[in-house]
Structures are given as structure tokens and as C-alpha cells.
Symmetry: D2
């Protein structure tokens, strides 16, 4: 008899990936998948990649979820706080939404608006001390997808004093699943194939989360939609404070992190290499013209950027090996 | 201590997928990956999705391979027969090449040329009686990718007498990994993105294999290269002999096959839904104008079409559950 | 002062391509673009590729359109008949919808439903005698996209008696713009990239149009959605009646057609090679196993399959060179 | 009788686009296409999108080219200088290679190596005074693709004193045709689809050209390969010196430039919207967190980034309208 796991808000892309990971996890029993708009539908009617999964969507209500040992919340921003409050403390919760990520109420108001639900333990295990914090928590706020890619590239460098926390510049491109599953004309295949297009330039809601997680004091952030279903490539540049080797700093920081690969010199991250996995690929260099440190970071936005990371946190919360049910290898080509 | 498994010819796409599956298999130890041209190189330098795999390519020689319990051969056509002959009978072998698929020497000569190595047990477990045959074999010839997609759609209908074995028409489109990893200008990303293009029309080498596996007597086959890395969609049409429901025939044929999903009525196969898995999605209908039976079949050409199928055969040969180390769920979107 | 041209229903994909072609046509003045839902919006807000075009959408009403010399109707099926009836006969009309394509009322009812508006001159100039018919007409029904690709491949062979009109089998894959611009979840980029998926199998509404245009008596038709924005590749197979060389028949049929290229032997059509053009690429062979004739046909579904074809018809109706304002060369790679 | 135009090195991607533009240009006669490795081959055997063009490749030698009024050189870096030297001064030349772009011999040596051929008139007509300079020149060095996208975004801001010339940070992603047509395994479709990957990070050869053209003093540049055949999206960030509105500066700078579109506020550039055209789309904002100016710039790397730009320069050199034979509208979707 395995650990009883439920997924709330399971009809979206992160929800679908959670279902795939939970159904394939050696220690988990998938006991419920909820989705208000799809209640009663077979899961595989919504997620054709899960053909053969004998489960129908339930309505998203606390009674259904309270029966689980652990619940993943993959709900739109603003909806998870109320649902989580209705669950007993004995049910562990990992929230993939933004509701509980930010400690700063003013930042919450500026980028999201509405009442601030307060911060939970931040679900990025690779930050110093965070594995233990997550293991001890019954409520964990999973990271934002851009925040994971950027924080893994930047946090150790700021922590080590290798780069200045000011004047950080980030350009990050994401596959289209990061924009969600709602039917919008600008996300049609006809529009996105062959297209790179920026959006929310200079004002993305992940900026305060990245600053909180990395210690950056000033951050210019440009998100770009890229013609691929999955993947984030973040280009993170910062001004060095001395002549520390940024690659060496990263290598040391992630020596014990099975999902973070600082690549051999000369190799650069590929988003395709992380597809379907919980991996992050990193590489760093110093620009010959400007002297800036440039770090490249690649993840699967639905993997380490969402569902994979959530399972990694759940593993820690449940006392399982961090890698249980997750792959360090990508599905490529 | 797991079962010792080696992969010969591991630098190509099927080889890379085999390494991913073997490394993640709960019962297998990956003891060697050979690749003549890459001997000495870290595996992850060639397969970036395997970053973190601590293994270097060895040269492809029988001594290295003889040390394994089971060897996968992912070599170019014509190379596996000689290598297999140099391995002791106690080493089980699954050959992903074409060398040992055809029983008919004339057909071999017509489509491949060169000396015919003779047929091994055909590695398509879903054919009647084939699971037992594979379980008893120490040498198995893995199926061709187009052959799998077409055979799963067609064989039960011919066997049941639901369609005529003559006048079968197949159009099958494949992702580019099916064309291999050799650097050829017409396979460049710039060429293939946005492009559908037929090739080897009217004379593809999988035709005799499909006829042998399905019992088809006459088969028009048109292969098409499609702008995606993975996946095959086969459209198989045949003339009905009576009014049997083709979907019902397929449903019954695959009732006990965990990897073959005959979809609910109204749902059609999606190649993307099979990516990274060992699944096949099927659906059938009768054309309202012509009365022809039309069956659609989707697989991942590197999964059920190559490496996944090979692992499925290996599981049977080793007495393991058929699904061990394989996923029935695709990585999508 | 050029010929005054208007486009009704100009906010969709065919409409956008019409605007591009009309705006770049050496003899045309684009005097109006109408789109009910977008009236008042700048055209470039809806079609970003037309940045710099100083025009706003008008509402779709007959008064606006009656002021033009020629009107293109790119409206949903069922809407163009009423609008066309409100335009004076002196205004020439090319209808890109299906309303006036079919001569057979029963076929109309079966595939489209609703009242049948009656057939106009069929807008496929490459059919025998059709250039003159189009030049003499003031109302032309533009062809369906799949119908163009299939008819150009098949009609000369049936007309020449080279293949039987019965037992024709067609599989045709289309880029996603063929599915239109309405925001539907299954057409999101995340869904379609990496995916081949059939739809409306065995019952597509272009079947009666193809039979009418080609003389086929029985036609099995399978449409497939392909992961690219534009392009159709049709695989057309039929049973030969003798040993006529199908490629020679096609070469002779299109000797005077500047947009149809029967490729040199050994070369196969590429959809990407037709992108942005009004070209059709053809190649034919005889299958070695079955003896069937196989013809491959590639077009741009928005070019020769819709807007380009419409401009070609308009050129003929207006006494201009057939190629005016159109490209025979594709935009590739 | 039109202007006699030849293209040397016409078998690559920029060469193919030049052939398409020259063949469709109302004032040009395409008199020769040379390609050493393909001499004697029909042009359409190499460029399938040019099916119907009745021309074969010639060998690349000065005698063939000297017969033209204007020659485009689309040769690998280092090859055009020698060929140009062998052409009479009366033959106008536009070199798409890098040989004659840089005024600084040291910069040439650092990034390209070998003897420095010296600078020609720089072929970016939108720079102040450059239209006249190009019109007066018989030798013009066409811009690099990344240099065009970046320079159009940045040069007016530095020239106006709106941003500091130091601490400029650029991340630019390119479609795969920018990497050329040589058959390399890492450029296979299987590798690039679904993949974003950086390359030459911190040391790209376009940096000195960008600094020369924009007046930037310090530039961190990260190029990324994107999964699409065409298009460049450059994200250019710089530190403002005051509170000038960057969008207003750009709007004024390009008021008389038909190919540069500063988009309406709220609209962002799309690479797909520039495909097949000679357009550049620009938008600018000020980052709310960092205060940095962020400019986004989209072009077609084969259009405004190569062949389109070259034709624009040729038009000026020949006294034709700047827009002759070029499109301001993209082929989209």
C-alpha cells in the first residue's frame, strides 16, 4: 500500500505532468485528480498521453482531497490559499501556484494583487538549508518556472560574493506550455511556430520571487515565448566583484545535488536535453568584451520548473529519496 | 546486483534511447556502451540528455560485449550479423537492425542486398504466440519502426478475415530521428522544420517485413518525413471482406497488451501522446464514401518503434514483467 | 489608379494572406478590409506581419464592398451566399468559402447542411477549359485547400484514362493554419508541435468537391494535422488501367501552367518549398509491390490552397496575366 | 532589358534567398548563379523552392561575374576579398561576408584571423548619412545578421545620448538558417527542434561590428540557436542617462525608413511577422525594477539580416527606389 497522493487542478499542463509522475512513482498511489471544469471526464480524454490510466476527474473539493496523505495544488493563482486552508494539517500540501511564495506583501500586491496569503517554506531544495526546511514542512510553496532557472544560475554566485547583487540582467525564453492551456488565439500553433516573441517585458511577476530567492537587489528581466512545447533557457548576466571562476562556484554549490549538472567546459545547456526530466543544466563564462559573468541555465519548465520540482519536494517531505520517481535524464532527441 | 546489459552502437538516436532506458531500468546494470567512432568519449558529450551518466564509450568489440548478460545491437544494417556471431550463445541478444528480420532471402536481397544472415525470432510481442517465442529465444530481431506501427494496425484485421490481404494502402509519416544521426544536408533543422516530404516512395525496405508480419499480399507504402523529432503516424487502409467492426477486432486482439491502446470512439491517435513511451495508440473506422477500413496508428519511433520495443523483448527474454523499466504514458505536451 | 479590391472576412488566416497579396499586387488598390469582430481595429493589430499597412478593419456590410471592382470573400461557410447576393453584378466576386463549390445539392446537405446556394464557376484554372470559364465569370467559387492538392495530382490521370476512377485512396496532411484562427485548445502550439493527428477520418467535407473536380467515383480520404503553420502534402494513390507513365501524363497536362511544377525524376515535393507561393509541386511513380500509381502533391494551403489561388482567379477575371502579384518561388528555408 | 545581376556563392541559404529576390525583382535580370561545389547542377536541385527557375550553377570565377552590372558575394568569410579584387571597378559589388565590414584591423584579427582586407562602405542604410554613402559607393559591405538586429535597436539611443555606451547587454536568438547549410550533426532537425541552446557565449565575432556600428563601448553578447528556420530576436538592454523615452527616440530615428517599424505601445516584435520580408520590428520600454532600457528587435536573418538588406543596398547603389523588389510585409502565419 503506497502513499496516497491527490492532484488538484489536474487538467492543465503542470497537472498533467504531475499525474504522469505520480502514476509512475514507485511509492505513490494516485487516489484523485480533480478539475472543476472536467469533473466526470476520463483523465485520458483531457491528457491523451495518459491513455490507459483508469481514472476520471473529480470536482475540486476539500473532502475529496482530505483523504490523501499529500496533495499537489496546480490551481490558478489566487485559488490555492482558500483550498489549502480547508485541508487538515495532517495532509501535506505542495502548492504549484504563486500564492504562498512571497514573503513581501507589497511585492505580492504589486505583481499579483488581492489579499496576500502569506509565505510557506520555499520549495527549492538546492538552496542552502532548504532540503531540511522542506523535509520538516507540511506546507511547501513550489517555485515559479522562471525563478528556478534563474535562481539556480545566480544564487550561489551572489552568496559567494562572486558577482554584485545589483545590475543583474536576465533574458529567459520559455516553451509554450509555460503560457498555460487556456485557448487563446496568440498561443495557437499557427502563431507560435517559427516565432520568438517577448511579453510582459520589464514587469514580470516572477521578479520579486527571483530577488527573494537569489538576494539580487536589481534585476532587469525579459521573458520570451519560444517555438517549442517545453523548456526554459535563462541567460543570466551579472557584474563580477573579483576574479572568482563562476563555473567553479557553481560546481561546488551543486556537488551534492543530483538534478543540477554543471556541464564540462565547452559544453552549453540544451533545453531539449532536459525534456521530461527534473534536471537543470548550467554553464558559466566571463564575457571577453564586457567582463560580465554570463550563466546559462536550462530546465524543463514542466519538470524542474513545476511538476518535477513538486515531486522532489514531496519526496523530501515524506522521507523518501530525493530522486524517487524522477528522472535525471531527458527524453531527447 | 542487477542484470548486466550492454549497448553496441550506442552513439545514434536508438542507441541513446536505449541507454536512457537501460540506465533507468530497475533490474538492469548498464555495463558498457560501445561506439566505434566515439570510443573514449564521455557518453554525455554525445548524448547531452544523459548529463550525469558516468560512462565513456568503448570500442565495439565482442570481448567487451561478451561480459554482459544481454546485449542490444543498434548498428547499421549489415553490421550486426558478424558481431552477433562472435558472441557466445549464453549472451542474449536483441538486434535493432534489419539483419535478422526477414525469412525470405529474395526479399532481403531486393531491399538490402548483400548476404542474408537468416531470420531470428521476430520481436513483436503483441503478435499471437510471439510473447512465448521471444521468452524462449536467446536471439531476437527487433522490428522496424514503420513495421511496428503498420503491423499493430493491420495484422489482427487480416488474421480475423475482416479485411482482404490484397490492395492494402499505407501512408506513414515519421519524425526525423527515424532518418538517423548522420550529418546530411537534407536533414538539417532549417530544411525539415515546416516541411513534409516523401522519400523512397513505392520502394521502402520495410515493405517485405510488413508483409511477412501481417500476412498482407499486396502493399502500397509511402513514407513521409515530418517536422518533429519523434513519432510515427501510420494511416492503414484496406478493403473489408464483410461488415466486421474493425475497432472491435483490434480491441479484442490487444485486450492483454499493456502498451497498445485502442482509443475510445471519437478519439484519434496523437504521436505526441506517445513520445518517450512504449505505447501504441490505435483507432479504426469505415470510410463513408469508399467503404474502406481506415486504421490510424501512432507510436514513438524510438520507443515502441525501436528502443522501447527492444527493452520489452529483453524483459520477456529475461523472465521480467513485460513493462519493467518502460512507461505506458507519454511525455506531453 | 489601380483596380479597387476589397477583402471581406479579413481577420482570419486566409484573409491575412489575401491582404498581403492584394497590398503587394502591382495592379490592385486595397480599398477595404472587413471583419465584423474587429471593426475599427488597425489591421496590423490582428496581423502583425502587416505592420506598416495603414488601414483599419471595417464592418462587413454590402455598402462598403459595393464600392470595389472586385471583392474576395473569406467568410465562414454559410455566410458568403447572403453577402454575395447583396452585391451588384458589376462587382466581381471570388468566394473562398465552400458555399458555391458544389453542384450536387445532396452532397452539400450531407457534408455542410443548410440551404444550398448553388454552384458558381469553379476556380481551379489548371482544369481543362477552366481558364476561359473563369475569365468570363463574375462569380467564382475558389477551391478548397485539400481539393486543390488532390485534384491537381489526380484529375489528369483520370481524364487520360491512366488510372481507374474507383478505389482512389488519399492521405493528406495539412499545416495548422488550415484549421483556422479560432482559439481552440487542441490547436494550441503546445498541443500541435511534435504531433501528427488525424481528424474527420472517413468523412471530410472536401470529398464531394474532390470527386466533382476529378471525376473520381470512390475516394477514401484521411486528413492529418501536421506540426507546421502552412503546407499540404497529399499522397494520392489509384489503380492504373494500363501502363501509361503517370509522370508523363502530368507533365503534359501542366505544360502551360506556370504554377504547377512536375519535378524532375528523383525529386519529391516539399511543402516548405511552396511556402508563401502559389506553386504546386508534383511527382508520380508506380509502387513496386502493389503496382498502384502514387502521386505526391505539395502546396501552401494559404497560397495555392486559398489566397494565392483566389488572386490567380481574380487576375483571369480582370484580364491580367495569370501570375500578376503572385510568386512561383517559395520562401525557404 | 534589365540590370544584369549575378550571385556568387549561391548554394547556401543567403544565396538562395538572394536568388529568390533577384529573380522576382522588377528591374533585375538574374544572369548567373555560381557555386563551386554545385557547378553544372540545376539551381532548383539545390534550392527546391526555386522549382521552375531555368538556371544552372556556374563555377565561381571572375570572368563569369565581370559580365554583370552588379554582383552579390555570398561566400564564406575570407573568400570574398580575393574575388572582389579580380572584378573591374565598373561592376558594383555587395559583399554579404564579413571581409570588409571592420575598420579595426586588430578586431578583425581577434575574431576572424588572417589578413585584413580593409573596410568598405557599411551597408546599413538606416544609419545617419549611410543612404547617401551607399548610393555613392561601388563596393558595399553588407551587415552581419546579429549586427543589424542589434544596431537598429541601439544606435539611435546611444547617438541621442539616451543610454550610456557602456554596460550594454544583448541576448539574441537566431533561427537555424543563420548557422548555415553545411551538414553538421548538431544542426540536424532532430537536434534543434524543441531546443534552445547558446553558443560562442561571450566571444561572438559580431561584437566588434556592433560596437563599430552603434558606438557601444562595452557589450556583453550571448547568441542562442532557436528552433525555427528563420528570424532573429535581439533583446538589447542599456543603462539610461536621463529620462528620455526610448520609444520616442526610435520612432523619430526611423520616421523615413520604410522597413523599420516601431510598433504601437503594447505591441511586441514577433520574428514570424518578419519572415520573408526586409522588415525590422522594434519596441522599447523601461524596466520597472532595474530602470534599464530594454529594446526588442525582430528581423528575418535571411531578409533584413542578409539578402534583403543586400538588395536594399543594391537598389540605392543603382539609383532605384530603396524598396524595389522587396517586401515590407512578412509571410505569416
Amino acid at each position: 500500500m503506497g502513499i496516497r497522493v491527490a492532484v488538484a487542478g489536474a487538467s492543465g499542463y503542470a497537472g498533467g505532468e504531475l499525474l504522469r509522475l505520480v502514476a509512475g512513482h514507485p511509492e505513490f498511489d494516485l487516489v484523485a485528480a480533480t478539475a472543476h471544469s472536467q469533473a466526470g471526464q476520463p483523465v485520458s480524454a483531457v491528457h491523451p498521453q495518459l491513455a490507459g490510466l483508469d481514472l476520471a476527474f473529480a470536482a475540486t473539493d476539500p473532502t475529496t482531497l482530505a483523504d490523501a496523505d499529500l496533495v499537489f495544488l496546480a490551481l490558478p493563482h489566487g485559488e490555492s490559499a482558500a483550498l489549502a486552508a480547508a485541508l487538515p494539517e495532517t495532509v501535506k500540501v505542495v502548492d504549484l501556484g504563486a500564492d504562498h511564495r512571497l514573503a513581501d506583501t507589497a511585492a505580492w500586491s504589486r505583481y499579483y494583487g488581492g489579499p496576500h496569503a502569506g509565505a510557506w517554506t520555499y520549495g527549492l531544495p538546492e538552496l542552502p538549508g532548504q532540503r531540511a526546511a522542506i523535509a520538516a514542512a507540511s506546507r511547501v510553496a513550489n517555485t515559479g518556472c522562471y525563478a528556478v532557472a534563474t535562481t539556480l544560475a545566480l544564487a550561489p554566485l551572489i552568496a559567494a560574493g562572486a558577482v554584485a547583487p545589483t545590475d543583474v540582467v536576465v533574458v529567459a525564453a520559455s516553451g509554450t506550455s509555460g503560457a498555460g492551456r487556456a485557448a487563446k488565439a496568440h498561443l495557437l500553433g499557427s502563431e507560435v511556430m517559427g516565432d520568438l516573441s517577448p511579453y510582459k517585458v520589464g514587469a514580470h511577476q516572477h521578479v520579486p520571487e527571483i530577488k527573494q530567492a537569489t538576494g539580487a537587489a536589481s534585476l532587469a528581466f525579459t521573458p520570451v515565448l519560444a517555438p517549442m512545447p517545453r523548456g526554459i533557457l535563462a541567460t543570466v548576466t551579472a557584474v563580477p566583484t573579483g576574479d572568482a571562476d563562476p563555473r567553479a562556484v557553481l560546481t561546488e554549490a551543486y556537488a551534492d545535488s543530483p538534478f543540477v549538472h554543471v556541464l564540462p567546459q565547452g559544453a552549453w545547456p540544451h533545453t531539449a536535453a532536459t525534456a521530461g526530466s527534473n534536471s537543470c543544466q548550467l554553464q558559466a563564462t566571463v564575457d571577453v568584451d564586457s567582463g560580465r559573468v554570463i550563466v546559462l541555465s536550462a530546465i524543463d519548465n514542466l519538470g524542474k520548473g513545476a511538476a518535477g520540482q513538486a515531486v522532489q519536494c514531496a519526496n523530501l517531505m515524506l522521507g523518501l529519496p530525493e530522486t524517487s520517481g524522477l528522472s535525471v535524464f531527458g527524453v531527447a532527441p
